[in-house]
C-alpha cells in the first residue's frame, strides 16, 4: 500500500483517501520544520562562531545514540505493520509494544541530555546563557525549541500508537482493515525523518 504523491493517481481510490488526512498533517508539520531549518540557517549565518562553540557543548555520542534508537523504533514500527498485514496479532502486539518501549528510550535519553544542559545553566532565560552572548542564546533557544517540538511529536505518536495497539488487541485493526496501521506508521516514521534532519544541525556542524 504505497503512498504515491503522483497527481495522476485516482483520488477516488479508498486506500488513497484514507491516508490523505494524515499526509496533509505530515506536510504541514514538514513545512513547520522547514521554516525552523531556514531560521537556523539565518541565525547560523549571523553568528557562525557562537554556533560552532555552542555546538561543542552537545555530546555527539548522545546524538548518535538517539539517532540509532529512533531508527530502531521505525524498524519495529515497520515490523508491526508487516505483522498486522499478515494477520499475525501476537507479533503485531509484540512489535507495537516494542516500538513504544524504544520510543520511550529516546525520550529518556532526551530528558538526560536536556537535564545536562539545564544543570550547566544553558537554557533559555538563564543568566549563564545570557552571559555567553546573543549567538549562544539563539543556538540553545533553537535547540530546545526544535528538539522539544520533536519530542512533543513523539509523545503524540505514543498516544496514536497506543490507540493502534488497543485496536489490534480488540481485533478491530486487522489484515482486512489495515488503514489505521498505515496512518500510525506514517506519523511515527515522520518523527524519524525529522530527527535525521535535525541531528546534524545541532551535533555535527
Amino acid at each position: 500500500m504505497s503512498q504515491s504523491l503522483s497527481m495522476t493517481g485516482s483520488i477516488s481510490q479508498k486506500k488513497e483517501s484514507t491516508l490523505s488526512g494524515v499526509w496533509l498533517f505530515i506536510f504541514i508539520e514538514l513545512l513547520l520544520f522547514a521554516g525552523l531549518f531556514l531560521l537556523y540557517g539565518v541565525y547560523r549565518y549571523k553568528n557562525p562562531v557562537a554556533f560552532n562553540l555552542a555546538a561543542d557543548e552537545l555530546s555527539i555520542t548522545s546524538g548518535v545514540a538517539n539517532t540509532i534508537i529512533i531508527l530502531f523504533a521505525s524498524l519495529f514500527m515497520a515490523y508491526s505493520t508487516i505483522a498486522v498485514k499478515k494477520g499475525n496479532k501476537m507479533a503485531a502486539l509484540f512489535w507495537l509494544l516494542g516500538t513504544l518501549f524504544v520510543g520511550f528510550m529516546f525520550l529518556v535519553n532526551r530528558y538526560y541530555e536536556w537535564k545536562g544542559r539545564v544543570d550547566f545553566g544553558l537554557f533559555p532565560g538563564s543568566e549563564e546563557l545570557a552571559r555567553l552572548g546573543h549567538g549562544d542564546v539563539l543556538f540553545f533557544g533553537l535547540y530546545f525549541f526544535m528538539t522539544g517540538l520533536h519530542a512533543l511529536h513523539l509523545i503524540m505518536g505514543f498516544v496514536y500508537l497506543t490507540y493502534g495497539t488497543v485496536k489490534v488487541n480488540n481485533n478491530t485493526l486487522t489484515a482486512e482493515n489495515p488503514a489505521l496501521i498505515e496512518k500510525v506508521g506514517a506519523y511515527w516514521h515522520l518523527a524519524t525523518l525529522i530527527w535525521v534532519l535535525v541531528f546534524p544541525l545541532f551535533y555535527l556542524l
Partner: protein, 89 residues
C-alpha cells in the same frame, strides 16, 4: 495480489536500518575531521540521503508525477537557500 506485493519483508527493513546506522556513523565520524566547509556539505548531504531513504522505505513515498517533481524542486531550493544563507553567504 497487489497488497501482497506491497508488504516488504522484515529482511528489507533490517537492511534499510543497517544502511541508515552506517550512514549515521559515517556522518558522525566525518564531523570529527577538520575539512572546513566540506564538513557542512557532507553532513547535510548524508542527512538528505538518510531522509530520502526514510521517505522511500519506511514511509513508502513514491516520488513520481508532476506534483512530486514540484515537491523535490521545492525541497532542493529550500536546501540550497539554507546552505547558501548559512554557510556560503
Amino acid at each position: 495480489m497487489e497488497q501482497q506485493s506491497d508488504i516488504k519483508s522484515a529482511k528489507y527493513y533490517t537492511l534499510v536500518l543497517t544502511g541508515l546506522i552506517v550512514l549515521t556513523l559515517i556522518s558522525a565520524g566525518l564531523s570529527q575531521l577538520n575539512l572546513g566547509f566540506v564538513n557542512t556539505i557532507l553532513a547535510i548531504g548524508v542527512a538528505g540521503l538518510s531522509a530520502c531513504i526514510v521517505l522511500g522505505s519506511f514511509m513508502k513515498v513514491k516520488l513520481d508525477g508532476a506534483f512530486a517533481r514540484l515537491l523535490i524542486a521545492g525541497i532542493l531550493a529550500l536546501a540550497l537557500l539554507i546552505f547558501f544563507v548559512a554557510f556560503v553567504g
